[in-house]
Amino acid sequence: MDINHKRNVLLSVLGTMLVLAVVQLAGSHGTEYQIRILNNIAIFIVMAVSYNLINGVTGQFSLAPNAFVALGAYTSALLTLTPAEKEISFIIEPCIWPLSVITTPFLVSLLAAGVVSALLAFVMGFPVFRTRGDYLAIVTLGFGEVVRVIANNTQSITNGPLGLKGIAEHTTLWWSCGAAIVTVFLIGRMVRSSYGMAMKAIKYDEAAAEAVGINTYWHKMLAFTTSGFFQGIGGGLLAHLITTISPTLFTFFLTFNLLIIIVMGGLGSTTGAILGAILFTWGGEWLRFVDEPMNLGFVEIPGIPGMRMVIFSCILIFIMIFARHGIMGTREFNWNWLCRKLGIGGRAR
């Protein structure tokens, strides 16, 4: 299809190696703070790229990613905690068997987190995809909240509001960036396959998609389940980065953050989701000063925690009104475009 194919594959491999080199450098020379930010970016990329699959690519406005991230975080954390640690943590009610005795390696727990979240997405999909548009948004919003409430109330599984503490800090830069690369690679390929094309068709015109024989219900299920899988993994990485999780972490607020990221990047663009995740995390750090007390010389503003979110919300409103396509629209980065821009070796198609 594309005569520059070989060159592009080579560039992609080189690009990936460059990212890995940066990871290596950051890991050995970066400050703890820088590493923390890079980890956050990578985890947000995993979550945002998969969230974009259902909201942006397939056009089904789900508001439930917090449910899958929560389930992934709890699943993986419960699997890596040792029986002894669980016994200490669960002070109100003991952890139920067999969770109380199982311990698995990090990789296994991460994959389990993905599988369990994917299962939840699959089951949730049955009622969710009987609805469309606004109703779908409301139903998924409800499910997101239900999962959080369940986490809060199943004392013998999640330790309730106390949450889980002392989770091993397994999420190194290699894990988080590795997961981000794998997620982008797999979802990117999927979106470019005819399955991805079918998902886009559903977004643009569902009736026409049915007319060309696309089982729209099933393809929405595929997108939702895949998205749930990677969000679960994102949750697992998050749990093993911050080492303490509790239900308050997985409120609608988390969904809202992811929404800002994918809208900012451009709904429907994987590249946009990546850029959004970077800008959001970076911007969030950079804007930290607005949360702190400020002395403007003539007036003193006391520190208002949460001011950053006000700014992000304003950005979201601004984008929705003036720049609905975000940074990328539905376009994707590709090497042909970059080479053309740089004016090198681009043979025209």
């Binding site: 390929r189 005819s194 094309m197 079918a198 009736a207 026409a208 998609a209 007319a211 060309v212 024989g213």
Partner: protein
């Protein structure tokens, strides 16, 4: 055995009877027209055959099999493809992608196989691409294959929709006002195109059209709907001289 057999088909929207006791037998290879004034219920008949509406009463059999309870996508897979009166292309997909997508429903690769680009998927993707190119050549859109579908002029969009429908591998093609918005030259080309496609792809064609010259020229049989009721049926010659049809159209037929 007829390709399509429709009996006692009735569609009510609340108190409105959009289609009333509609009958139809399509033999293999026929081109049959459905005409009638605006709001007569023509598109509603298509929507029932294609699985978009569940008929209030009546039965539809495609190649002997009842289509009752089947979703629109299953009916497409069974071999009935359609185009829409108000063109419905996938706006942000390119012209060739709009056709390639038609092959997706017959893909044998699994979701995982396609994501991992296993050999079967690579082969199938190549077939989709080549098939789409062939169909685009067939409808004369090769030169715009990589443009955005919505940037095309009306007549080309209509032909693209036909190519997309053909990609699903149909035996029966339902065309809802394929000549709408076309100039006389384009309409003539379309006529030749439909005749050629019928021959090359072994199609049976059922079409709705307001352009009487086109309908009279291409159809072997015509059915006339008025307020949901079939008021006439026959060869173009019979229809043209049918007083009830002339009355329904207020003389439109004679003028055309």
């Amino acid at each position: 055995m007829s390709v399509l057999s429709v009996e006692h088909l009735t569609m009510k929207f609340g108190g409105l009877v959009a289609v009333n006791d509609f009958h139809l037998e399509l033999e293999k290879g026929e081109i049959v027209g459905l005409i009638g004034p605006n709001g007569a219920g023509k598109t509603t008949v298509f929507n029932m055959i294609a699985g978009y509406y569940v008929p209030t009463e009546g039965s539809i059999r495609f190649q002997g099999q009842p289509t009752q309870g089947k979703k629109a996508n299953q009916i497409t897979k069974a071999g009935i493809a359609r185009t829409f009166q108000n063109i419905r292309l996938f706006s942000e997909l390119s012209v060739i992608e709009n056709v390639m997508i038609g092959y997706h429903c017959r893909l044998r690769s699994t979701f995982l196989g396609a994501t991992l680009k296993l050999p079967l998927y690579r082969r199938e993707e190549k077939m989709m691409h080549e098939g789409a190119l062939k169909l685009l050549a067939e409808v004369g859109l090769t030169d715009v294959a990589h443009e955005m579908s919505t940037s095309l002029p009306y007549g080309k969009q209509r032909r693209l929709e036909i190519a997309r429908a053909l990609a699903t591998g149909p035996q029966l093609l339902l065309l809802d006002e394929p000549a709408a918005g076309m100039n006389p030259n384009e309409t003539q080309d379309l006529l030749q195109l439909i005749l050629r496609l019928r021959k090359d792809y072994d199609l049976t064609v059922f079409l709705i059209e307001h352009d009487m010259k086109f309908v009279m020229e291409i159809c072997e049989r015509i059915k006339v709907l008025d307020y949901g009721t079939t008021i006439a049926e026959g060869t173009p010659h019979e229809i043209q001289n049918n007083p009830r049809v002339i009355e329904a159209y207020l003389g439109e037929v004679q003028c055309a």
